[in-house]
């Protein structure tokens, strides 16, 4: 077995105070100056560290408050209160929720898995990936001494095309080179997000992270020059169709991507002829024709298919379908056609939490590409001011490449550990075997109807 893969993380502090869910309101007026003020008795000592960030006009105690409410409940004049923070509630959008964003910040800063006490606080289920649960194995599971123990769980996956069979020539030698597969140690590829104040330094940082993690970074071809010099093997140039014939792909590039187009066949052949060892990935927008397109690409010998959903995990054509469902149907279509094992399936769009990686793989992809998480790792608030030409409130454009790399490595490190947690619970020790393993998942639509479908009769009764 190859040596164990682990991601080394180091705390990479925020440059700005984070936005927290609720704030402390403490009035001075009416204070009777108790001998022992509740503020001095804070278990977490947050009032001891009180200072005001002059730049952001934010009180540090709001950031450090752990919400025990003891000061609120202890002040004899009831001068201290907690109140929901409207700025927090306004973070992001319905998909990139304040909760998701703040957890991504935490992971990018610390490299740790979010752990908390008490039971799950969220909704029963939700749309998209929130409508599935992963399974666990009650008795048997692979590791004997924890997920970081001796018997390890492999998260490595293969990118490329597997031949259905090999052919030998008259001399008994392989007819052609079948070795066009690259493996990456974890099923996560970085991808440049669609917006953000992204400059050369940010790109450098992201590519450094990709290299450190041993994975790849997908970049539009015009940004390739911003990457550090010796990083070609870690890049996936995303080539625009118009320039596919003229763009000179750097020699050491292993994978290049082109978007779907009706005339793609010619384009792909052209590139493949010019670069014999290059793998081509074709990006298809998730829409109602996605299955057909994927099937025809697979049949025509494309190595990698990248299914791209909108940034909120929905289909591109304003449909109501989710990435999760799209992946399942494409995967099944390819299985039915008997060619699923020959190609690599990737997905992107709305991958926002570590659990989405595991769930997307269960639904049928080999790996995912993450875009906005690597921007949110840099403290992005998804406010979209940059899309209107306004200044970035957290000055992402001033971040140094090494800080960017650390933050992203921390985030992916935390995700990797979470992937190990769920795979361990499922009793799966190889990410390759997780692919399409819907038997290790439970789906809301099926479970809910099976359980409650018969509990619908109401006739002449009162409900409580």
């Amino acid at each position: 077995m190859p040596s164990k893969y682990s991601i080394h993380t180091h705390t990479a502090p925020h440059r700005f105070k984070t936005v927290t869910k609720s704030g402390i309101i403490a009035w001075e007026e009416g204070c009777i100056k108790c001998a022992v003020c509740v503020k001095t008795r804070c278990v977490y000592g947050v009032y001891d560290n009180r200072n005001l960030d002059p730049l952001q006009m934010i009180d540090s105690i709001d950031n450090e408050c752990m919400n025990c409410l003891r000061c609120v409940q202890g002040c004899p004049k009831e001068l201290i209160h907690k109140s929901l923070n409207p700025e927090y509630q306004a973070l992001g959008d319905p998909y990139w929720s304040p909760d998701i964003i703040s957890k991504l910040w935490y992971q990018a800063e610390t490299g740790r898995i979010p752990v908390s006490g008490a039971g799950y606080p969220g909704p029963f289920s939700g749309p998209g990936f929130d409508s599935m649960w992963t399974d666990m194995s009650e008795i048997v599971r692979p590791t004997r001494d924890g997920i970081h123990g001796r018997e390890y769980i492999s998260t490595a996956i293969d990118l490329g095309r597997t031949a259905r069979h090999i052919s030998l020539n008259d001399e008994g030698m392989l007819e052609r080179d079948y070795s066009q597969i690259y493996d990456i140690p974890l099923p996560i590829i970085l991808k440049m997000p669609a917006f953000g104040v992204i400059n050369g330094d940010i790109i450098k940082g992201w590519v450094m992270a990709a290299k450190r993690l041993g994975t790849l970074m997908a970049l539009p071809q015009e940004m390739i020059n911003s990457a550090p010099d010796d990083s070609d093997p870690w890049l996936i140039p995303m080539i625009s169709p118009e320039e596919s014939r003229t763009y000179a792909i750097p020699e050491e590039t292993r994978i290049a991507e082109v978007p779907w187009s009706e005339e793609r066949a010619g384009v792909i052949e052209g590139i493949e002829r010019a670069y014999s060892s290059l793998l081509i990935s074709v990006r298809i927008p998730m829409d109602e024709k996605v299955e057909e397109k994927a099937l025809s690409l697979a049949r025509n010998g494309v190595s990698i298919i990248h299914l791209e959903a909108a940034e909120n995990g929905l289909f591109m054509d304003e449909g109501k379908q989710y990435l999760k469902d799209g992946i399942r149907s494409v995967h099944l279509k390819l299985v039915e056609a008997g060619i699923r094992d020959e190609i690599t399936l990737l997905a992107s769009g709305g991958i926002a939490m570590a659990e989405h990686v595991a769930k997307a793989i269960i639904c049928g992809v080999d790996a995912v590409l993450i875009d906005f998480p690597i921007l949110i790792a840099l403290e992005c608030r998804m406010c979209r001011r940059c899309t209107k030409g306004l200044e970035c409130p957290v000055e992402i454009d001033r971040a140094s490449p090494s800080w960017v790399a650390s933050r992203v490595a921390n985030l992916v490190g935390a995700w990797h550990n979470q992937l190990l947690e769920v795979m361990g619970a499922m009793g799966i020790r190889d990410a390759r075997r997780l692919r399409g393993e819907v038997g290790r998942a439970m789906f809301f639509e099926e479970l809910d109807r099976a359980t409650f479908g018969s509990m619908g009769e109401v006739e002449d009764c009162e409900l409580e």
Binding site: V43, N67, C68, L69, R70, V72, G74, C75, H81, K82, S83, L84, I113, P114, V115, S116, A118, G119, Y120, P121, G122, P123, F124, W133, T134, M136, S137, E138, I139, V140, R141, R144, D145, G146, I147, M353, A354, E355, A358, Q418, E421, V422, G424, A425, M426, M442, D448, R449, T451, F452, G453, S454, M455, G456, E457, V458, D460, E462, L463, E464
Partner: protein, 499 residues
Amino acid sequence: MSSRNAFKLPEAVRTKSRFRNAIGKYRLNRTGDCIACGKCVEICPYGVHVMRRGRLVANHHLCVGADCPEPCHAACPVQALTLRRNPDFDAMGDFRWTPDLLASTWHMAEFSEMPPNHLEYKIGGSAGGFDKLRIKFPPVKKGDKSLLEADDDPDMGVELNRRGDNAHKIRIEVPFYGGGMSYGSVSITTMLSRIKAAATLGTFCCTGEGGYPDELKPYDDHVITQVATGLFGVREETIQRVKIVEFKYAQGAKPGLGGHLLGDKVTPGVARMREAVVGYPLFSPFPFHSVYSVEDHKKHVDWIKAMNPKALVSVKVSTPTDVDMVAVGSYYAGAHIIHLDGSYGGTGAAPDIAKKNIAMPIEYALPKVHRFLEEEGVRDKITVIASGGVRTPHDVAKTIALGADGVCTGTADLVALECIRCHNCESGRGCARGIATTDPELIKLMDLDWGTQRVINMFLAWRKELIRILKRLGMKSLKELVGRTDCLVHLDYMRKSRF
């Protein structure tokens, strides 16, 4: 029957919040214009206003807001009072334990009564499972109160030994017992409060995996001792001391994951109890490495029976897809109780990804297990206990209608002790409110008698509400409700029948 008559329930005693300012949904702001005339004290039906040394103070948490028939703010002769929603109220809680549910539970723990209607005390805000299920009552004819006024209270007891073997015949007087919370994860005061309350209520409480502190000895007959994968604190002597032994195979909140007690929490007391070294982290592995099949599991059960032949054996498992097979396997291995812990249950600390995603909510697992045990013809030979997100007496009724004989509680007990769901049980010195901590200073925040009475009050209120529900359903005993899914309706599937 005789034991039933012999049992006497404890008294409810009003037990106020241990913090100076209890949190309620509303606040009454009083301006300096107040002339302390006492009008508000006189008219408030809920005792919100109190005159103290010539000045007026308010117990805001008793205010019912807009529901009040005689609002003080309208009656105040100098308009010194204004009614506001309390911002603190909305800053606490979450989807499962809404601010309303927290405040309702605090009300029950204080008064031993269901709260007034300004609090939504029947459901939480998770928009699924229990929160979308409603209990279906037959219509009451106008003026007919016979159902509710029936003299005999329905029988609320649950028999725990249905195998008919030589082990103890145990009946619990209320359909719930305390789920495992270890010494180390909660304070000794919390542990004792729960166990003392359980003893007076005629039921049990589990030690969790962390040893069996000597302070528990007087309550041996009401203690369930847990044997979990780390085998912390398990000794022949502790097994022999109790009437019920629980094997914990997995925990709903973190199924398939081992437990991990951080080094900071391994204080001298905890270390002694667990026979470990102070300051070193402790791992409970997953799974039991001596159990890889039902046959291995039987060996475990036999081991307990050899040490304590009269003990009942409970098997606590979480809820994977094949939970029904696991339940049947447990029965054949000789278990008396199968305890299903659903995925939305509590924990002292667990990765968020596990709490949210791994295994299924109890609402799905329970009917599946109930049905499968029935098909196997062994449903009446084993006691099914469910846990994992049971917050209210309504959740208890729904759980039983979905197929359980009784439930296990955990978080609700802590909320009665004024847990506020800040989710920081695991960080630093532990719970800042002195519930889930072993910090010598923080432990002092709570008094044992106070804690015991709060838990008793809450459970008496639960029992009373369950009795009301059963009477309203026209049932004479809780047993009649088991598996009666026809008494439930799920709002997403609701339809009028065609005839």
